[in-house]
C-alpha cells in the first residue's frame, strides 16, 4: 500500500539539477500537473508502489531527488500508459517515470541483472518480455 511519508521541503534538499534533467529527458512541463490523482486512480500497479504516481510528480518538481531515489515506484511502473490516457492535463507521466529510471541507469547501476533471472524463466519468457524488460531495467 502507498505509505504516507512526511516530506521536508527546504532549499537545502532541493536538487535543481535533478529537476532540470527530468524536464529535459521527459520533455514534460512538470508544472502542468494539478495533482488531481487520476494517474494514481487508474494505475493498475499503484497498490504495489510505496510512493503514488501523483506524488512522484510533486516530489520531482520540488527537486526531492533522494525521496524519489529511495522509493521503488519507478521500477514498478510498467509503462502501460493508463495514467497518460486518463490525465485531464495531457501530462505524460510515463515519460517522467522513464526519465527518473534513466537517471539511475545512466550511472551504470542496473536494476535487473540478466543472470539473476531464473534459468527456467529465461527459457520460457517470450522474447518481448526479455527485450523490453532489459531495455527498461538496464543501462
Amino acid at each position: 500500500m502507498t505509505k504516507k511519508i512526511p516530506v521536508t521541503v527546504s532549499s537545502k534538499r532541493l536538487r535543481r539539477e535533478f529537476v532540470k534533467k527530468v524536464k529535459e529527458l521527459s520533455g514534460q512541463n512538470l508544472q502542468l500537473c494539478y495533482q488531481c490523482g487520476m494517474c494514481t486512480g487508474n494505475c493498475p500497479t499503484a497498490a504495489n508502489m510505496d510512493v503514488s504516481p501523483r506524488r512522484i510528480i510533486e516530489l520531482a518538481r520540488l527537486g526531492l531527488e533522494e525521496d524519489i531515489a529511495s522509493s521503488r515506484t519507478v521500477w514498478i511502473c510498467a509503462s502501460c500508459l493508463a495514467c497518460v490516457v486518463n490525465c485531464p492535463r495531457g501530462f505524460d507521466l510515463s515519460k517522467v517515470m522513464e526519465a527518473i529510471r534513466l537517471l539511475t541507469l545512466r550511472k551504470n547501476i542496473d536494476h535487473v541483472k540478466p543472470e539473476d533471472i531464473p534459468p527456467q524463466d529465461r527459457c520460457e519468457l517470450p522474447q518481448i518480455a526479455m527485450v523490453s524488460g532489459l531495455t527498461k531495467f538496464t543501462g
Binding site: 529535459e24 529527458l25 521527459s26 520533455g27 493498475p44 500497479t45 497498490a47 504495489n48 521500477w75 514498478i76 510498467a78 509503462s79 502501460c80 500508459l81 493508463a82 497518460v84 490516457v85 505524460d92 510515463s94 515519460k95 517515470m97 522513464e98 526519465a99 534513466l102 536494476h111 535487473v112 533471472i117 524463466d121 520460457e124 519468457l125 517470450p126 522474447q127 518481448i128 518480455a129 526479455m130 527485450v131 523490453s132 524488460g133 532489459l134 531495455t135 527498461k136 531495467f137
Partner: protein
C-alpha cells in the same frame, strides 16, 4: 492480394500459435502476408526519453526496408511490435530534427519521413476485409462460445497510435461477433497484466492478473481472447500461482484471436498450435465441438 508483413521475434518462436493461424486465415480470406525482407527486432518497447535516439534506429530501419520494397502499408500482429513501430513512425513524421539525425545515422541510401502506414492485423480485418465478408466466410460459427475480449495496453495506448477508442474499444467485440461467438464485455479489458515487470517483480504478476480474470469470470466469460504473447504468458503464470495458493480459484482458458479466426474459417486445429498455448483452451473448444476441420474453404473470388 499481397500485404507487407512484420512478424517480430516472438511470433517466430514462442508465439507461432499467434502467427501461423493468422497467415493461414489471411490466405483463406484471399490475402498473402509477405514478410519484410531482412526484418530485424523492433526493440519491443518504444523509448520514452527525449534524448534517446539510438533505440529508434531498430524500428525505423524496418520501416525504411518497407519503403525500399515499394510498399506503403505494413501489417503487424504482435501488439508490442505494433506499438513500437507505429510510435517510431510517428516520431519520423513529426520531429524534423530527430528525423534528420536518425536518417543520417541509418544511412540506407534513402531518407525516411514516416511514409509507411503501420497497421495491426485486426485493422486489416476490419477495414480491408470487413466484418460482413468475414461473417460470410465463416464455416464453423463459434455460436456457443462466451468469450471476453482482452486488449491489454499496447494496441490502445497512447491514443495517437491506438487501433480503436482507448476508452471503449469495440474492434475485438465486432471481430468475435463476425465469427458467431458471444463476446462478453468486462471493465478490465484494457487493464495492464504487469507486462515486462515479470522479469523484475514476478511475484506481483498474480495480483495484476487476478483483477482481470476475476472480472471476466464474473461477467460470464468462459475464455479470454488475447492479442499479445506477453499477456498470454503473464495471465497463465498468474493463474498458475493463484490456483496454487487458492484451491477455489477457477482457471480461465486463454486463446489468441487468430486461433479463433482459423477455427471459424474451418481451417482446423492443426494450424493453431494449441500445444504452445499457456492457457490450455483445448478442452473448452472440444466441449463446444470447435476442433473439427471443415472442407472446401476457398479464398474470396477463388
Amino acid at each position: 492480394m499481397s500485404l507487407a508483413y512484420y512478424p517480430g521475434c516472438t511470433l517466430k518462436t514462442k508465439a507461432r500459435n499467434l502467427e501461423e493461424p493468422a497467415v493461414a486465415s489471411m490466405e483463406a480470406l484471399g490475402f498473402k502476408l509477405d514478410e519484410v525482407p531482412r526484418w530485424n527486432c523492433c526493440g519491443a518497447v518504444y523509448s520514452l526519453a527525449d534524448d534517446d535516439l539510438i533505440h529508434q534506429v531498430a524500428p525505423v530501419r524496418n520501416l525504411v526496408r518497407v519503403k525500399k520494397a515499394g510498399e506503403t502499408k505494413l501489417v503487424t500482429l504482435c501488439a508490442f511490435c505494433l506499438n513500437t513501430l507505429k510510435r517510431a513512425n510517428l516520431l519520423m513524421k513529426q520531429d524534423v530534427d530527430k528525423r534528420n539525425t536518425i536518417n543520417s545515422f541509418i544511412d540506407e541510401g534513402l531518407d525516411y519521413s514516416g511514409e509507411v502506414e503501420v497497421v495491426h492485423l485486426l485493422e486489416v480485418l476490419r477495414d480491408d476485409v470487413g466484418w460482413d465478408v468475414i461473417s460470410h466466410m465463416v464455416k464453423l460459427p463459434l455460436r456457443e462460445l462466451r468469450v471476453a475480449p482482452y486488449y491489454g495496453c499496447t494496441l490502445l495506448r497512447p491514443r495517437e497510435v491506438a487501433i480503436d477508442s482507448a476508452e471503449d474499444p469495440t474492434i475485438l467485440r465486432d471481430f468475435l461477433k463476425a465469427l458467431g461467438a458471444r463476446p462478453i464485455d468486462f471493465p478490465e479489458s484494457t487493464r495492464c497484466c504487469g507486462s515486462y515487470e515479470v522479469i523484475s517483480n514476478p511475484d506481483d504478476i498474480p495480483e495484476y492478473t487476478r483483477a482481470i480474470l476475476d472480472s471476466a469470470l464474473n461477467h460470464g466469460a468462459e475464455a479470454l481472447v488475447l492479442t499479445c504473447p506477453l499477456c498470454d504468458y503473464n495471465l497463465a503464470r498468474g493463474q498458475k500461482e493463484l490456483v496454487k495458493k487458492n484451491s477455489g480459484f477457477r482457471r480461465m482458458p486463454l486463446i489468441y484471436f487468430t486461433q479463433l479466426l482459423a477455427l471459424a474459417l474451418g481451417l482446423g486445429p492443426q494450424v493453431c498450435h494449441f500445444e504452445l498455448n499457456h492457457g490450455s483452451p483445448e478442452s473448452l473448444l472440444r466441449e463446444k465441438n470447435l476442433l473439427s476441420a471443415v472442407e472446401n474453404v476457398r479464398p474470396i473470388g477463388g
